[in-house]
Symmetry: C2
Subunit: 208 residues, 2 copies
DNA sequence: GCTAGTTTGTGAACGAATTCACAAGCCTTC
DNA sequence: GAAGGCTTGTGAATTCGTTCACAAACTAGC
């Protein structure tokens, strides 16, 4: 299959969100124009994005809401449940562990890890905080497929290396550092300080 | 000035992070090659990124660490202190309010807003939680320039509209919905569910 | 001050992503 | 069943971002 741009995948996520809203409201069809308006893009973009994966619409009519949302869930791999481990039970790890949006979309958080003995054994919204040392064994027995790094920057690369050795191929990084991993491991970074700096730049360099 | 790509601004942030590390270690010069290696890009990319703003290096030598970091701080608008309000004192709002990285980089959180009467009046790491109704008056008196939306999706567009009416031109959105704002307002979104879906896609459609 | 060895800054070439534009296909009405 | 009105799917054109490649400029060693 042809390589799909990351921006395309992001937009598919956005389209799916609207489709689910439409599904709830019982709408049966939607046009690329409508999806574009909501998602802040153009109708040509919507159709091109979808065309990478097949043709899902009917000319003159638009897209069937249930069919397209099911197709997008399939494409995005959201039909199955993903098993996720979170590394770090600090403020961010805790906020993530309790975030209902994850489970809703099929991301099942199986455990949270921390090195602080005071935290180990407690639970966060029903999820057990475990000793960091158990990570490797647990990933194996729990069949975890996604790891979330929610610890300070210093230890993050080391933790990522451990995660990679367990065989996990997808990592979401909240630590404010640039991490390096083998090419077959997908690492996505969420860096709040960097986003704020983007805003700072926009405010500073606005067209006069 | 020529329009600068968002990807360029992101990389400038990354370069600055390394430069500050080098500054702490007392290194005096650095080459585009070294910055590229650390930041996971190419030396040509580094030089091109910088060339949009001027020439900061010396041929044959590289870049002066203090000069370049100062220049980047200037470009990114990090010389001044930005005054930030956070809307929502839930888990995410609280995690953001206590995140030390913000103040460290000149983002001064002046207040957190919530509608829950139980929370109003309490403090989060020394930052007062205030009634949502005070938002407009406070932005005016406190001269806030950046707003962070950390509330559930339902109310987010409405809150954004209020923020826009106060005259704030930069917003960071953590609510898992697509928001619409006038063109002169920069809205950046951090959507954790969407990032996880990107990972799900990567795991599902890996080259065989 | 000449030579060898670096490293920058930048047009030009390339490649990737978006937008354009239109034929093809479907629905509805008469 | 023909005509009019939509909307898709997609090559072609365009725009945007990255990489190449090399002259220009610097340092160090002799």
């Amino acid at each position: 299959m042809k390589r799909i741009a990351e921006s395309t995948v992001r937009r598919l996520s956005i389209y799916l969100r609207f489709l689910e809203e439409f599904e709830d409201r019982g709408l049966s069809t939607v046009s690329s124009e409508e999806l574009a308006r909501r998602g802040g893009t153009t109708s040509a973009q919507v159709r091109k994005d979808l065309s990478f994966f097949g043709s899902f619409g009917k000319r003159g009519l638009g897209y069937s809401v249930p069919e397209l949302s099911s197709a997008l869930r399939e494409i995005l791999g959201l039909q199955k449940e993903w098993r996720v481990v979170i590394i770090g039970a600090g403020k961010i790890g805790a906020a993530l562990a309790q975030y209902r949006g994850f489970r809703q979309r099929g991301f099942n958080i199986v455990a949270v890890y921390d090195t602080n003995p005071e935290k180990i054994g407690r639970t966060l919204e029903g999820i057990e905080i475990r000793a960091m040392s158990r990570l490797e064994a647990d990933v194996e027995t729990e069949h975890a497929e996604i790891a979330v790094i929610a610890i300070p920057g210093d230890g993050a690369q080391e933790v990522l290396d451990r995660i990679v050795r367990t065989g996990i191929k997808a990592v979401l990084n909240f630590a404010p550092v640039q991490l390096h991993a083998p090419a077959d491991v997908t690492v996505k970074a969420v860096n709040m300080a960097m986003e704020l700096e983007g805003l700072s730049f926009a405010l500073t360099n606005r067209e006069s």
